[in-house]
Point group: C2
Chain length 227, copies 2
DNA sequence: CGAAGTATTGACTACCTTCAAAAATTGTGG
DNA sequence: CCACAATTTTTGAAGGTAGTCAATACTTCG
């Protein structure tokens, strides 16, 4: 029942390799692309590959039987998705926008320690840091209010991909409102209302629906930590 | 500012080693104990050790500045706690009841791959499966109702430590209501009300406050998946 | 037995959701 | 380039789930 959409071979190989895989040799990986909206893998598929995001953004998610969805993470350049301990993927993964990928041919369930100790080392460090990152998200989902959640989310993006521009920090919001809602455990209406509130309070500007300018970073940080 | 409570040297060494560490030699680890309520490590401490639970239960948690707490996991026998990618613990860890521990002298941030490939392999597999487990908890925190959360929580314990006894499945609930509340992102009142509801509906019995008998496992599973 | 801590129950409130409609944005064909 | 449809987002009103506050009951421990 699980079908993985094929993703085309990546034609332009003149990409600068990110730090993560610098030491890797070409035979252990190849390049690929995925178009916006396309599925890279499904929960239950054989976890053959680990994907490294080179450009663009992906989302990993899980579904309940009745259709409720929880987005587990947004994968930005430098991130790895598809880590598995038992050779099956445990989440779906889709491209939020067009993405360029490096596809690693080994997963954590393969005996890569002896043959590729460097890769294994990085994989272990990635897995451990992933655990730590997810713990941060736990307290967000379990204990923060809607305003705190949205403010925290914007700050995460700001710290990661924000660009300073005359007193403001700007970044794209490639995912749609329902993605944000399913990431934060809220509804699209609450996301919309909260963003509007932040805009009315002068903390952010929303020049386009997928673009954010943060005018008041300290104010946003304050909102992220208390209601 | 972070202080780790000392934990006494473990006197009784005739413990059966769990599967995880069978291959480990003694020089890379030692035994220890912690009494109920005692702190094993704090967020920010140097992450020197990884702790393996041999007996008893521990909780790992994070605090917000205003005191709100999120419990990240309950560690049962066979579990590891204290994994770190950067040599600092990212959560607090306390003993829920008296625990016996095996203390491993290496963490993920140490270069243990070359010298101890077997341990590194298990560490990687543990970290990867930990990521998968946490993903399950994500959908619980983000998308499930109070009843679904409590039912899911009881089922997890049932599957892990439940003992069949004439048509019922029984287990201890060593943690207090506030621990459960902070694990599920609810309040103690909601935990109490939900448990009472499950009892009134004949799904469970609560002979003591820290003991659960599940009378209707399929009913509990149904409640865990839809409101 | 009394005190302290934990758990249960009740009444009320608030935050977020749900349902519904309008507005804005995006995409497509003439 | 514009018109129109489809999708996404915003806004509004009403309702429900879980939270807060408060009192009572139960356990544990000295």
């Amino acid at each position: 029942m699980y079908v993985t959409s094929p993703i085309g071979i990546f034609e332009h190989s003149e990409i600068r390799l990110p730090h993560f895989v610098e030491a890797e040799t070409a035979k252990h990986s190849h390049f690929s692309t995925a178009e916006a909206g396309h599925r890279m893998f499904c929960e239950g598929d054989d976890a053959i590959y680990i994907y490294e995001i080179l450009e663009g953004v992906v989302r990993t998610s899980k579904l309940l039987f009745d259709g409720r969805r929880q987005i587990l993470s947004f994968g930005y350049p430098g991130d790895l998705v598809g880590l598995s301990h038992d050779c099956f993927y445990h989440s779906d993964c889709e491209a939020v926008c067009d993405v360029k990928l490096r596809v690693h041919h080994k997963n954590a369930c393969h005996a890569s320690i002896e043959s590729e100790p460097e890769f294994a080392k990085k994989l272990l460090k990635f897995a451990a840091s992933e655990v730590n990152n997810m713990q941060e998200h736990f307290i967000m989902l379990g204990r923060k209010s809607a305003t705190e959640k949205v403010a925290s989310f914007l700050l995460t993006l700001l710290d990661r991909v924000g660009e300073p521009k005359n007193c403001k920090t700007c970044f794209d919001l490639p995912m749609c409102r329902s993605d944000i809602a399913d990431f934060l455990g809220l509804t699209i209406e609450t996301i919309s209302r909260t963003l509007t509130k932040l805009r009315e309070d002068g903390v952010i500007e929303l020049p386009k629906k997928h673009r954010v300018h943060v005018c008041n970073v300290p104010g946003l940080r304050a909102l992220a930590e208390r209601a």
